[in-house]
């Protein structure tokens, strides 16, 4: 039985401020025993890369995108990978395109950017992560190495690990006119 702790990095794509699904997925994964570094809403790819650097034991990067701008928000993934960063499987889910584009085409374009898995349903996440681990010989070793270290509170690690927080001051503010009928952060002044 595999009793090692497994860590994943979670966040919402750079232009997207939908918080609810993000929180629900974090809770779901934690209930399944994962340590979740949740970078929250409006997270640029560089911040995901920083989080991977800060948590080299991370098994995957899970990105949600609900505002239809997934392709634009992930456009720089090839450059980051070419620079040797974000070297973990990227799992993407949500509403991935605006309007009525043919889904296959959208998925093909996202895969061409380097997205490794596209999820239809967040319940599939634990299964996909299990499959990834089985297919990645180094993954379990990374997790065990991490568990050998003394672990400080995961909250502090989560908050301080990325070191890029100040750069994002204010980026998460929603547009004033987006009325709150979606399952988003629906609050309005």
């Amino acid at each position: 039985m595999d009793t090692t702790r497994h860590l994943v990095i979670l966040g919402v794509a750079g232009s997207d401020a939908h918080a609810v699904a993000n929180h629900l997925i974090a809770m779901h994964l934690r209930e399944h025993g994962y340590d979740v570094v949740n970078l929250g809403v409006c997270t640029p790819l560089t911040e995901f890369a920083d989080a991977v650097d800060a948590h080299p034991e991370a098994e995957a990067v899970i990105i949600g995108s609900l505002n239809g701008h997934a392709y634009a928000d992930l456009r720089d993934l090839p450059q980051l990978r070419a620079a040797g960063r974000l070297g973990r499987p990227v799992i993407l889910g949500g509403n991935l395109s605006v309007g009525s584009h043919k889904a296959d085409d959208v998925h093909d374009r996202l895969r061409a950017l380097g997205v490794d898995h596209i999820l239809e349903n967040p319940y599939e996440l634990p299964l996909v992560l299990d499959l990834l681990r089985a297919a990645t010989p180094g993954a379990t070793r990374r997790a065990k190495k991490r568990n050998a270290r003394t672990r400080t509170g995961t909250r502090a690690a989560h908050l301080q690990g990325t070191g890029t927080r100040a750069a994002h001051q204010g980026t998460g503010t929603r547009a004033a006119g987006q009325r709150g009928s979606r399952t988003a952060v629906g609050s309005r002044g």
Binding site: A17, A19, V20, A21, H23, L24, I25, M27, H28, E31, G40, V41, C42, P122, Y123, R155, L159, R165, A166, H168, Q169, G170, T171, G172, T173, R174, A175, A176, G177, Q178, R179, G180, S181, R182, T183, V185, G186, S187, R188, G189
Partner: protein, 458 residues
């Protein structure tokens, strides 16, 4: 940065402002209707006034929008501010205003300037409130005062946690402390500015005690700076006994925690979550909001519309929403009575939860520091936060009657009794733990499910 009435502002803002003395004189002597007078009148009448949200980019269009809504009978109108201005991107707001004002999702007051603000105030015969979502509202507040607005929404918690990803609470609390201190100076000069606190927070299944605790702490911070008129807003959750208990508790908590000479006006935000898509089902929910506001003794209600599920409402739908809300709070529904025992029981437990949340935070000299420390430790928390400075360990859920309870209380400092009551109430509505996301989503989509249960023919 430069100072204006002890507010640290951008040089460009200060350069355009009238003097402090001229601003105070205009606020005191212009004769324009004030927010506090409208709220006092509502209190006397025993029925809530209705206020819509509304804001567009161009000045002419904003003027026309206010004029078109006034005949529907609002007791107060709004100038909702665009998101660039909320983030202090005043130059960007000005550029979009020049190039394509329809792209702005609100009125860029700082870019327009205080003189145009005075024109808006003079356009209608009801007071105007500035509603926005700024963690640092100081420049916007200065321009609002110079323009003669007598009501300004926000606070260091409620305009941070739901609106930004990473502004430290210490920063937003200090910015809002400066705003409140200016209100204190104005109160000494005989000018009451209504400061409304945004208890709606993230608007998604917010447990009432979290809403009331956050606004009560903001109220204490505001009063310490001399604020004398507070509107405390609470979001309709959907279960009438709980919502009425929460609204009625605002007055009782104010009497317990705030000085007697501070005016406190309870405000209801009509349901802020996922709205029915059918126009008639949405209208019914809007009517219900007006009724809840009246039953709870709210002095004001912020209305929704039957276009809520589809985006920003047009002026006609907003006018209908105002009117439907007024009907809900009118004598038409005065026959409605609630089970007083049930409301009293809700009030007892709600106020106990609030006390368990706020008493430890108030037990010291540095309120802002204590708020920051409590959020950091999860002793204060907001579910589904956009900000990383709230842990969002709290998981709410609806009980079988639809009332919002704590499924998980996280690190909130609740007593065993409070935890047990919440667990007991949720025992039959907990759903399948393996379908956690669907269970919570169903609670979020509560009124959507109501709508689907009674399909309306097209």
């Amino acid at each position: 940065m430069a100072d204006w009435a002890d507010l640290h502002l951008a040089d460009s803002t200060v350069g355009g402002l009238p003097s402090w003395a001229e601003t105070v004189a205009h606020l005191r002597d212009s004769g324009a209707p004030t927010a506090v007078a409208a709220l006092r009148a509502a209190r006397r009448a025993g029925r809530p006034i209705v206020q819509p949200r509304c804001g567009v980019g161009a000045h002419d269009a904003m003027t026309e929008l206010l004029r078109s809504l006034a005949p529907a009978g609002p007791g107060m109108l709004t100038v909702t501010i665009d998101s660039f201005t909320r983030l202090r991107q005043f130059d960007h707001a000005a550029r979009v205003l020049r190039e394509n004002p329809a792209d702005l999702n609100g009125y860029p007051l700082v870019a327009h300037g205080w003189q145009r603000g005075r024109e808006l105030v003079a356009t209608v015969d009801v007071p105007l409130e500035i509603r926005h979502g700024s963690p640092d509202p100081r420049d916007l507040f200065a321009v609002s005062l110079a323009a003669g607005f007598t009501s300004f929404e926000g606070g260091g918690i409620g305009y941070n946690i739901p609106y930004c990803k990473n502004v430290p609470l210490a920063t937003s609390l200090e910015c809002w402390r400066q705003v409140d201190a200016v209100c204190g100076r104005l109160a000494e000069a005989g000018v009451l500015v209504d400061r409304e606190l945004f208890g709606t927070l993230t608007a998604v299944l917010v447990p009432p005690s979290i809403s009331l605790a956050a606004t009560l702490l903001e109220a204490r911070a505001a009063v310490a700076q001399g604020v004398r008129c507070l509107s405390i807003a609470y979001p309709q959750g959907g279960e009438v006994h709980q919502d009425v208990a929460a609204l009625r508790s605002i007055r009782e908590l104010a009497a317990r925690y705030l000085p007697a000479d501070v005016e406190v006006y309870p405000v209801l935000h009509e349901f802020m979550g996922v709205f029915p898509r059918d126009r008639r089902a949405a209208d019914a929910l809007v009517l219900y909001g007006g009724l809840v506001a009246r039953l709870g003794g709210a002095d004001k209600v912020i209305n929704k519309t039957n276009q809520e599920a589809y985006g920003i409402p047009d002026a006609a739908a907003n006018a209908t929403g105002i009117h439907t809300t007024l009907l809900g709070g009118s004598a038409l529904l005065d026959f409605v009575r609630l089970d007083t025992d049930r409301v009293a029981e809700e009030m007892h437990w709600l106020q106990r939860e609030v006390a368990e949340l706020v008493d430890p935070v108030l037990d010291g000299d540095d309120l802002a520091g204590a708020i920051v420390a409590a959020f950091d430790a999860g002793r204060l928390d907001v579910p589904f936060s956009a900000s990383i400075h709230a842990r969002s360990e709290v998981v709410p859920g609806r009980d079988p009657d639809g009332a919002i309870r704590y499924r998980e209380a996280g690190s909130l400092p609740f007593s065993a009794e409070v935890r047990r009551r919440n667990a007991d109430l949720l025992r039959h509505g907990a759903g399948d733990p393996g379908r956690f996301i669907e269970t919570v989503s169903a609670d979020i989509d509560y009124f959507l499910h109501h709508e689907r249960a009674f399909p309306v023919p097209a």
